[in-house]
Subunit: 320 residues, 2 copies
């Protein structure tokens, strides 16, 4: 599973950082999920290898413009690019209302079905290779985190158990290996009872804007990675609370408390340049977070991709 | 008066061309007008010297997404950048409806007044340094051209006439020079009768999508420059007509017929690369247009700026 950041700025774009957008790529094939879609996300996609044809779903965390104003344009471009496959859109109810108004006013007619799933109902959804769960956060408007857990983890047949139970080698074994439950001598055999999974399923939690990281404790159970906003440094803690945002150290302290192995911070206020000779810069957010967190800490940059391997290790794989 | 192209692609952005957006800069000061605002226009502005504080008005030619999807984001960013001065928005009625829906759903509250002027009523509007007229075009949806004529053209006092009529040198002359009408010995004196304008007022017509360039004959009276879409080459003439667009040669033939001195083509289909070793490319649009037009022909590129001097000559002034 790979995370490719398309935008890491909060509120407004800067010359080097776009507003929110994250591509989560499946470990097999070219399928990907887009989490948030600020204005200009489609432009960022043009500079990657991602194709709108292999986009499985768009998930919006909340209705603020820097997380959704790119939605009409990306749908229009997918349409003009010839997409006809249905597309899932998970988002707060308001987004559906807004898209309908947008399509009507701007005469946008999509040649594919948009399957809307309302995030306000905290849905769990199973895609072919990915299970998605929804969790509520704390922000100025209803806001959500999405937990992505890979499905169909590679597994070997538990030959010892099959032999011990006298299940004959052949088509039955093949079906069980494929994850299919079968019937043998009138008994129902569950595939998962005869499989030895090669690694724990990979799980990544991607949160929207949020001023209470501790709300993510349940979402992060079994997760190797949390992606969370860190709009400010600690000096802005009061302001952060007022506008429903977090500061880096606050998120890092939560990640430390739940022993999360990998933390990726993003959604930095434009007031923080990437590197600055005069504080504050993004390096200050890093320093503050590192002071309370002993796991692997990453501060996202536009076009940087992170890979989560089967052992649950996150590494930076490329930078365009 | 300067024209700075922020986007020259039709329908969808490409790696090198954004969707529609043109900045028209006043000859004096920093004031500018934005004509169309496709997605990512605010990102383009970041790479210029334009400031949202000196933006006088946004004018939208029609409701199609590649001409307006950047509007919510640019307004939000102007707001976050501290703009408080009222902003004029000239656009078809649907845009107002859509913006209201957008502000409501995405909780966007602007700290400045948006003064909406409905283009469907073909308004004439006078800004401090610019007069704007609206003309109807032919497209799949109501679509408009905006004609910009500079006001307050530099002028000298017609001293001979003043002396001949016995109007005494002093404060009266000063007022007439400033464009103020005055009363002298019970008689109303009109400023414009005592001024010698140093050049014809500059006039630029910027058209939206349109399949009948000849509709612009009246708009172009007295204009030195027409900016018009040239989505296709002549080989696509039939398709162009079907979708309400023009091809380059068609626009150029019209410009030739009305003896227009400067023609700028833009809004090129993404199928035409800038330079291509294999046709068709934008160079084919140029060649076709040049074959029927003897004026100064320009094919716009993103970030290229054109300056219209007092003599009515248009020249390329910079390329970022």
């Amino acid at each position: 599973m790979n995370l490719l950041f398309l935008g890491t700025s909060a509120g407004v774009p800067t010359k080097t950082r776009n507003v929110s957008g994250i591509a989560l790529r499946e470990s097999k094939g070219k399928g990907w999920y887009l989490i948030d879609c600020g204005e200009g996300t489609q432009h960022q996609v043009l500079h990657t290898k991602l194709s709108f044809h292999s986009l499985k779903a768009i998930l919006i965390t909340h209705v603020h413009g820097d997380h959704c104003y790119g939605l009409p344009g990306i749908l229009a471009s997918a349409a003009m690019g010839g997409r006809t496959a249905p597309l899932t859109l998970m988002a707060p109810k308001g987004i559906q209302t807004w898209l309908e108004a947008t399509c009507e006013v701007t005469q946008l007619s999509l040649p594919f079905v948009l399957e809307f799933i309302c995030s306000d109902e905290l849905p769990s959804v199973e895609f072919e290779n990915m299970a998605v769960e929804t969790f509520a956060l704390s922000h100025r408007v209803p806001c959500y985190a999405y937990a992505f857990t890979e499905r169909n983890v590679e597994a070997a047949l538990d030959v010892d158990t099959l032999d011990r139970q006298g299940i004959p080698r052949g088509p039955l074994w093949g079906q069980l290996k494929q994850g299919v439950d079968v019937t043998f001598e009138g008994k129902q055999l569950r595939s998962q009872d005869y499989l030895l999974f090669k690694h724990a399923p990979r799980k990544v939690v991607i949160a929207g804007d949020n001023d209470r990281p501790e709300l993510l404790a349940q979402a992060c159970a079994g997760a190797q990675v949390l992606v969370h906003e860190a709009t400010y440094t600690e000096a802005m803690a009061e302001k952060a609370g007022e506008v429903g945002h977090s500061y880096g150290k606050q998120v890092a302290a939560f990640a430390q408390a739940i022993k999360l192995p990998n933390l990726v911070l993003t959604h930095f206020s434009p007031r923080y340049p990437l590197i600055s000779h005069t504080s504050p810069s993004i390096e200050d957010i890093r320093t503050e977070a590192q002071s309370v967190y002993s796991g692997a800490l990453y501060l996202a940059r536009d076009f940087v991709e992170y890979s989560l391997d089967k052992a649950g290790q996150l590494t930076e794989v490329s930078s365009e």
